[in-house]
Amino acid sequence: MNIKASIFEKHADWFLVLPLIAYLSAFTLFPILENLYISVTTGTIISVFSLPFMDQTLINTGIFSLGTVSLEFLFGLILAILVDRVKRGSKFFSSIFIIPLLVSPVAVAVIWLLILDPQYGPLNYFLSFLGIKGPFWVGQQSTIMLSAIIASAWEETPLTFLIIYAGFKSIPSQIYEAASVDGLGGFSLLKNITFPMAKPSLAVAALLALMTSFRSFDLVYMFAINGPFLYVQTLPYLLYQVSFVSNFQQYGSAISLLIMLIALLPTFLLLRMMRIDERLGLKKEREGSPAFTQRLKSLFKARKGNLSSRHLASLMPDVGRNKKASKKSKSLLPDALTYALLSIAAILSIFPFYWTVVTSLKTYNELFPAGGGIVLFPTQIDLSNWVEALIELYGYLVTSLSVTAAVVLLTILIAVPAAYSISRFKTGGTKIVSWNIIVNSMPSVIFIIPLFYYTQAAHIYNTWWSLISTYLIFTLPISVWLLVGFIEDIPKQIDEAARIDGMGSFSIIWRMVFPLIKPGIIAVVILSVINCWHEFLFTLILGLTVFSGQVPVGARGVTVFISNFISATGINWATISAGAVAISLPLIILAIILQKYFIGGLTLGSTKG
């Protein structure tokens, strides 16, 4: 045994977690301090409140966040109740309901701009049947906010649904059996058993929905550039406007702090609910109410045919209990009605996407029917829009693909050792994990101004490196948290046996941990891919040009392509639809194939970057 190795082994706990800490310090802690420095030295920390339209922006932010949350929670809850009731098809319906989540917010905006188009959009067309003359939606002061809320709720409802549904599923079937023997059924079952037992999940779902809508930038941006922006502009958009359109970045720093301050409250609530100390085994779990994440683990535990999880399950007697028995015999709704409602919900959740696909394939005549009205099922298919979109897309696509691949690789390389160290050596107690969750909960817009300076100072502005180095902010924290959960589930004796058999920390991670947390790795990869692929703000700010063959210059990703399309060429609906579908489809397919990992990752990590 050489001396170097023994020094490493002695301090393995800190060595393994060091890259993570170094990264988070440089790219999250430092930017916050810099924001603070700038806004204090320039005095903007006080004068920020006298920015024009600040009042309106704060009100908008409140309306947008609360409005979106209310809709999301309502629909998420209804979907969860319905899906939880059916014996067959819950997987099918789940995979349809998650589709909106897989479309990047920029594309979601495009989709809804199509739907809400006053003249050629299907919504006003359908309203006309009811004798209602639809408004101008996005083009009108009074309805632009409502439009944004609807679009945002459509996109984010799936996450709320998944978390609530996971909470429902984690209720042991024996409880339902006992309740039905005791004579409960229908509403009394929901009221007395399902809701109280799923309360932690309901709370987390609401909290996450609130945080997601509060930080929403992409969608608001897309609506704002297409309508009376003053009536939809929220704090993140104001930050962008002030800093990068009007170039008052000192004010941007102050707005960053304001956003951070507002986001801290829900973040700390979330931290408490996650019970990190219990998850890490630093504190005994409260009896009768296993930690939220623990319950969600059942999503993974129920998997069939996986050797490692079966082996683990055999060591832990309390898992795999969530077999769905023939519960709820006295039903709230007849089965037929449940399926009917689910089908309507399914149609509502895919119709906007369907409309976009159809639009992208339409000929000019069917796009804009001469006699008015809309064409729901095109009779002719025109692929020229696709050809045009794909040609234009090329440079953006190369950038997004390369950046995504690099970020995923770096994420795994940094997150797995760090998670191992946190799980096994309890490095930093709960602090490092909490830091990760806080970063993950913070709107990423608060980091952008310092990062903008960094990339210029480091001469990586408008290169792939600017995105690769900053996208880890979105992928690392969630991955560490997820992987800690998975590593916690590997019996400690496996490590100990490996140590006695002669392995050091590195080979244990490589030979034992890595193969045993494969489901976790897959979940991390797919979540990271989605986060990188959907990211809009950073590539908008840190990218200036499109990749044109000179690696690694050109940091504009696929989302910028979509947004550019609107402003640059006017709105060519068919081509932009083709673009939106083209960048969304690969992820939709990937996520549906790997659905269980994706859903597991989302609900387990339960925060999206």
Binding site: L307, L315, Q493, I494, E496, A497, D501, M503, R511
Partner: protein, 360 residues
């Protein structure tokens, strides 16, 4: 092969002392059981020997070598875990070969070793299976194979039989004992099951609350328990412990139960005063009719037939006693019975310290 020596070894977690300055000397080739209830610190001792826990103070030697600061992998010790800790993603063959591979052994050497070990443990047909495809007994053999294959100086066993069902446990017990004798490797075996310790060990170390209670051969442990704890822990069903005092009546010594439910003559020359009397259930004789010497009377409270034997819970005016008798004795619930202790098999313990009083 080597001896294992612990000198004044202590372990504290925060403010809690789990192992309190213990001295233990396991001889070369010996099968030593560490017996104690859960939370007694026995597993911590084993883990300190393995190097999985650092000692707070004291010294651990394997052979003549001080191993306090040597990492587990360099101690040349093998360990079999309670849940076997087989690597779930590797086949049986990979599981067994891993310790050799890590140590850079040649492929030929590894193949040869695996062949001989798997033949010896009769697991050759399992080599290409995954651990999850094996039964509990098979997993246990694979775990053994992984330990044996390295020819380590010492085997450590952490309750390796507790995950097996009752029937398999008995046969595995015999198998392990035979294996240890054939290999002659120094073995330290931790268990909370006194039957395991008694049947397998050359010597047993009884531990309670981090302190060694007694180190002795199984026979000695049974016949001369060092204190009340050992007396109550070793033997099944447990010994009856009765409070009372030794009184001198006209030059004859009597044990008088504390509430005067009975008194009996004692032969030993015990000091007068408070003592604890221990009577094993098999030494509490029961008769259904009045006989000479059967001077005590009790009611049958519960009767538990066990085939050839039966356990009788007896109620002597509120004092609960347990007797083990032959099933031939026909008895019904609440029946009056007559009792007698085997006088030569009585144990006395100090009332203050619990220590055994063996004056003869």
């Amino acid at each position: 092969m080597a001896s294992v020596t612990l000198k004044k070894v202590s372990k504290t977690f925060g403010k809690v002392t789990v192992v309190n300055s213990i001295d233990l000397d396991v001889k070369d080739g010996e099968f030593m059981c560490i017996l104690g209830p859960s939370g007694s610190g026995k597993t911590t001792i084993l883990r300190m020997i393995a190097g999985l826990e650092k000692v707070t103070s004291g010294e651990i030697y394997v052979g003549d070598e001080l191993v306090n600061d040597i990492p587990p992998k360099d101690r040349d010790i093998a360990m079999v875990f309670q849940n076997y800790a087989l690597y779930p993603h590797m086949s049986v063959r990979e599981n067994i070969s891993l310790p050799l591979k890590i140590r850079g052994k040649s492929k030929q050497h590894i193949d040869e070793k695996i062949r001989s070990v798997s033949e010896y443990l009769q697991i050759s047909r399992l080599l290409d299976k995954k651990p999850s495809q094996l039964s509990g007994g098979e997993q246990q053999r694979v775990a053994l194979a992984r330990a044996i294959v390295r020819d380590p100086k010492v085997f450590l066993f952490d309750e390796p039989l507790s995950n097996l069902d009752a029937k398999l446990r008995v046969s595995a017990r015999g198998f392990l004992k035979r294996l240890q004798k054939e290999l002659g490797t120094t073995s330290i075996y931790v268990t909370h099951d006194q039957a395991e310790a008694m049947t397998m060990a050359d010597r047993v170390t009884v531990i309670h609350q981090g302190l060694i209670q007694q180190i002795a051969t199984p026979q000695e442990l049974y016949s001369k328990p060092a204190n009340v704890f050992v007396a109550g822990f070793v033997g099944s069903p447990p010994m009856n412990i009765i409070s009372g005092s030794i009184v001198n009546r006209d030059g004859t010594l009597y044990f008088r139960e504390e509430e005067d439910r009975f008194d009996i003559k004692v032969k030993n020359s015990l000091p007068e005063g408070k003592v604890l009397l221990g009577v094993r259930p098999e030494d509490l004789l029961v008769s259904t009719y009045s006989r000479e010497d059967y001077t005590m009377i009790a009611d049958v409270y519960v009767q538990e037939p066990l085939g050839p034997l039966q356990y009788l819970s007896l109620d002597m005016k509120g004092l609960k006693l347990l007797s083990q008798t032959s099933s031939d004795l026909k008895i019904s619930l609440n029946q009056h019975v007559y009792l007698k202790f085997r006088e030569d098999r009585l144990y006395f313990f100090s009332h203050e310290t619990g220590r055994g009083l063996y004056l003869t």
